[in-house]
């Protein structure tokens, strides 16, 4: 099986981190993975996306032009990439930041007010983690507990207090799906 995921939004929203966490978890599960960022002179605030492929087989092109799963964190990204999602694929969007909804009938469209939920739990930087919890619930690309374990383990010792917070955010997104 091969999952081709595109994460897109603004720099600073944790786009690259989200993609990296998925690639890393895939690797730890013994799968072939690639992570390819769009890179540019912008460090913060510019458009940003990354392609992640998780596969049971060797991966050819690391570019995801037509994703199985699109995870969009801003309207320009949604507008640009939603039409490119393959038939039968899924688009996830942060409804706090993207008012538009997918009108395609050949893909599954899921929305979650990730930014709003993150603000409510007083952790505005964890909207991406809330989104990941939601994506896992809807797609089953990872086992929730396994992903949660790897996510908390990736938080450095020096920021141990963030471990629980990350787990809480992930669970919040996961439970939102029910």
């Amino acid at each position: 099986m091969t999952s081709r995921i595109l994460f897109a939004g603004f720099g600073g929203q944790g786009i690259l981190f989200s993609g990296k966490q998925c690639a890393k978890t895939g690797m730890q599960l013994g799968k072939c993975v690639t992570w390819l960022p769009s890179y540019g002179p912008e460090q913060r605030g510019g458009t940003c996306n990354c392609s992640v492929i998780i596969s049971d087989e060797d991966i050819g092109s690391p570019l995801v032009n037509t994703p199985d799963i699109l995870i969009a964190f801003n309207a320009p990204s949604f507008d640009k990439f939603e039409p490119k999602v393959v038939a039968g694929g899924a688009v996830f969007s942060d409804s706090t930041l993207i008012s538009k909804k997918s009108e395609r009938s050949d893909i599954s469209a899921y929305t979650i007010p990730a930014t709003e939920l993150a603000n409510e739990m007083n952790a505005p930087k964890l909207a991406n983690v809330i989104m990941l919890g939601y994506v896992i619930a809807k797609t089953n690309i990872f086992d929730f507990d396994y992903f949660a374990e790897k996510l908390t383990a990736s938080v450095p010792e020096s920021k141990a207090e963030l471990r629980e917070l990350n787990k809480k955010a992930l669970l919040l997104g996961y439970n939102y799906a029910e």
Partner: protein
């Protein structure tokens, strides 16, 4: 050691350190700056040195000095910076010094862009420096290969006393894949009794120079170097063949484009088209014999590059123009998609 998820640029840097390269000289330029940053962080912890030079020109000349004194060393840059290094590279060739140079290519000419490109193929394989010379050029296509070929590069450099160029691109440099450093092999390296590091009163002085005003002497020095190139040609050419056994169309691509082509070949096979791919791993020397052999059975060739058509010349020469060679390319930093390559393969027909 377990596999680690790393950027291509970081994998090269770590592999260099693992290969015993404890001296790095560089100058920042996108998209390879991670290497200098990684080296700056890691080198002091392993007793090494990362020195940021005042220019690419100085960086390559620091490499010249370090290599001349017998030290494993490397420098890295991206296209415009490599042009600046070309003078020093020629001198390094002229003194038969081993070192590793990395070009994480970006689009050009001029300042160009910072997105992935393969537009420096001609420069790398034909003329990275003035004079009768070649570099040994390696082209990795995955982060694992970025690591493996970096270690190989140091060994080949030392074995033959040649500078080795690793020709990568922005996509390979920036992408992450799992890397296993345990698979990396090492070769036996001859002693560097030619180095200028102080004779200590124990031997005659060593002189490292590329200056030979007597034409006969210069000719002999170049001839000796070309004898060496011949050995490299016999022993070190490498390529990967993918589904070429019965292929009617052979795609030729290296580096990041070979990844795109591999997916396209797989997709075309699923449609019943007899297509395969040859991926040069060494660009100089070029796997000409292997291509020539394929031209006996294949009817068409397709080169896919992130430029306006450079390696295609070598493909045509390799098969002595005995078969049509078509080209698909993007330039300036844009990349072709798997679908683009698939469409081109379908357009070329090919026996099912």
């Amino acid at each position: 050691m377990a596999k680690v998820l790393m950027k291509g640029n970081e994998a090269i840097a770590e592999a260099a350190i693992k290969a015993g390269c404890l001296h790095y000289f560089g100058y920042p330029i996108t998209p390879q700056t991670e290497i200098a940053e990684y080296m700056a962080k890691r080198m002091p912890k392993v007793g090494g040195l990362c020195l940021q030079a005042e220019s690419e020109v100085s960086a390559i000349n620091m490499i010249y000095g370090a290599a001349a004194s017998g030290t494993r060393c490397m420098t890295s840059s991206s296209s415009p910076g490599i042009s600046l290094k070309s003078e020093g590279i020629s001198y390094i060739v002229g003194c038969d010094l081993p070192c590793v140079i990395l070009n994480v290519q970006r689009g050009g000419p001029g300042l160009g862009g910072i997105q992935p490109s393969q537009a420096d193929y001609y420069q790398a394989t034909k003329a990275l420096g003035h004079g009768d010379m070649h570099l040994f050029v390696l082209a990795p296509a995955s982060v694992q290969e970025m690591a493996e070929l970096t270690c190989e590069a140091f060994d080949i450099a030392d074995m033959y006393r040649v500078p080795v160029l690793i020709l990568a691109d922005g996509a390979l440099g920036q992408m992450m894949e799992p890397v296993d450093f345990d698979t990396i092999k090492k070769r036996d390296i001859p002693e560097k009794d030619w180095a200028a590091c102080g004779h200590g009163g124990k031997r005659k002085k060593n002189i490292l120079t590329s200056l030979f005003l007597n034409p006969e002497e210069l000719e002999n020095s170049v001839l000796a170097r070309y004898e060496k190139y011949k050995k490299i040609d016999e022993n070190e050419v490498r390529c990967e063949q993918f589904m070429t056994e019965d292929a009617d169309i052979v795609v030729v691509a290296y580096g990041i484009t070979s990844r795109i082509c591999k997916s396209a070949v797989t997709a075309a096979r699923a449609k019943g088209i007899k297509v395969g791919m040859l991926r040069p791993i060494t660009l100089s020397p070029f796997p000409a014999k292997e291509l020539k052999a394929l031209s006996e059975t294949a009817s068409k060739f397709l080169t896919v590059e992130l430029n306006m058509g450079q390696m295609i010349t070598d493909v045509k020469l390799a098969i002595e123009c005995s078969r049509p060679v078509e080209f698909l390319g993007r330039t300036g930093g844009s990349m072709m998609t798997v679908e683009d390559v698939l469409a081109k393969i379908e357009e070329m027909g090919g026996n099912k």
